[in-house]
Symmetry: C2
Subunit: 306 residues, 2 copies
């Protein structure tokens, strides 16, 4: 499972499954089952805050149960609600984001923030889907997104299935494509957004934002409020996952470098808020100063106990 929103949804369903399969009959046993499953799930990935957000939401909802059976039902219902709300929220993000693009827009995106990364519609790709439906999208530039090639494998597939015109490009061609005047906007998803607007997303996002800035191109992030972590003051508070060297040394099972080579493989980077023109959430388009606008977007949200 990958994609911050989908990680959250999968974690919620994970707790629901733990509840359904819990070997016990009273609330104490159910709470123990959910605590154990929650700890296991929480430790799987450090960067995407949607994981902790979804777990906490299910656990909090279940805490209001007065019987074992009610607790199980609440866990399942809350997971389904989280899933449904994500799809609904994505559609709102899509409409709000599409309104930021001028007709005939040519947009660059990175990694995969589409149906395959969410409940089923997409955040950054949701914006592109909405713009395409409105006939406002001319072309998409898809970065292949090494090391795991989510752009080449997933975004290319999603856009092809949707009939959106696009080209696939190596990550290192992004600067030239912008400099050639082929990009009107850059839109990516996010894995965790700090209270000040600093945003962690797939490795390579930071440099796209720098390049967009240098070339006078607006840089947007599209993400649900479940990706905003108001407890993280700035990007410095966001842990960056370092992943296996094998992801870099081998491409789809084929070795690409000599033996005995050290690798750095950070899975995410943080784009500083000052490089982000807007953050598109289901509760509105947040603009600087993000301290205020992100807090407002979060507090306009659905009640946290679903």
């Amino acid at each position: 499972v990958r994609g911050a929103p989908l990680i959250g949804i999968a974690a919620a369903y994970g707790l629901a499954l733990a509840a359904v399969h819990c070997d016990g009959h009273d609330l104490k046993a159910l709470r123990q089952c959910l605590r154990d499953a929650g700890e296991t799930l929480r430790a799987t990935r450090p960067t995407a805050v949607n994981l902790a957000w979804a777990l906490d939401r299910v656990l909090r909802a279940v805490s209001s149960a007065s019987t074992f059976g009610e607790g199980v039902a609440i866990a399942v219902r809350t997971a389904r609600t989280i899933h449904e709300e994500d799809i609904e929220g994505n559609r709102r993000i899509g409409r709000l984001g599409a309104a930021l693009l001028r007709p005939g827009a040519r947009v660059m995106t990175h990694c995969n923030a589409g149906a395959l990364a969410t409940g089923g519609y997409g955040t950054a790709l949701g914006v592109l889907a909405a713009a395409h439906e409105e006939g406002a999208l001319q072309h998409v530039h898809v970065n292949e997104t090494r090391p795991l090639l989510q752009g080449a494998r997933l975004t290319a597939w999603e856009l092809r299935e949707s009939g959106v015109p696009f080209t696939l490009e190596p990550d290192s061609a992004a600067g030239l494509t912008m400099r050639r005047g082929l990009v009107d906007a850059v839109i990516t998803g996010a894995d965790r957004i700090a209270a000040n607007g600093d945003a962690a997303n797939k490795i390579g996002t930071y440099q796209l934002a720098v390049l967009a800035h240098a070339n006078g191109i607006p840089f947007y992030i599209a993400a649900p409020t479940s990706t905003i972590d108001l407890a993280a003051a700035t990007g410095d508070d966001i842990p960056i996952e370092e992943r296996s060297p094998d992801e870099v040394l081998c491409v789809r099972g084929t070795r690409i470098a000599p033996e005995g080579v050290l690798v750095s493989n950070p899975a995410f980077d943080v784009t500083p808020a000052e490089l982000i023109d807007a953050i598109i959430t289901e509760n509105g388009v947040a603009r600087p100063p993000y301290e205020r606008t992100l807090a407002e977007a979060c507090h306009q949200g659905v009640p946290a106990h679903g």
Copy 2:
């Protein structure tokens, strides 16, 4: 054959071979053989100017011959001279470039500008080799350099063989590595440098220069004067080779994207002169204004007719 200096050397040897194998006995036949071979070789690659430079130098040298045998001998001798001068020039580039690095320097490089791209020593990697010999180099960050992975396949191999400490990183991690404060200088080679200092090099170089600038890190180019094209006023006069989509769609024979996907695969980009802190040539370190300093470096060079 790849690497601008090595492309030039190989082209010169190509003409020498054409001379040695020329089926004729007089100068007219030799000139025809060399013209035919020259045309074939000239059409192989558009971006690296060393190709045309080496061909022209051999052809000009042979034009002074008064017999068939003398012409063949001059062609062979000139090719050998070009090769030997390149190695010697690389060593001078190495010493001059190493002097720009402070002790304990941590340097990022892109693609391969080493022994495997030149007559046998290297330009950007020549600088790193010289700094390493002097004990001044702490660490090298090697970008893998998609699509053809020259960083992962060639530079990683060269540095490992030389015992230089390095890490291999995806191209999209370069920005984060710089932002983390791990890079004191960026050094790359070049394929063609215009009179104003705009420099074509492997795709991804431009964005490294933008990122270096944004992070207050000096950006250097190391290249022999044979890479400088005073006839190209600016980078706009440098043709950029667009290469096969298969280089992006397949990694070492393994398909990484769905069928029916359009690809953009420019092999080079142009870094504007204002992002380049210095251009290290065998005739000295050129600094802005490059119009003057590059012309000086070229005119201090060895006589063009070897």
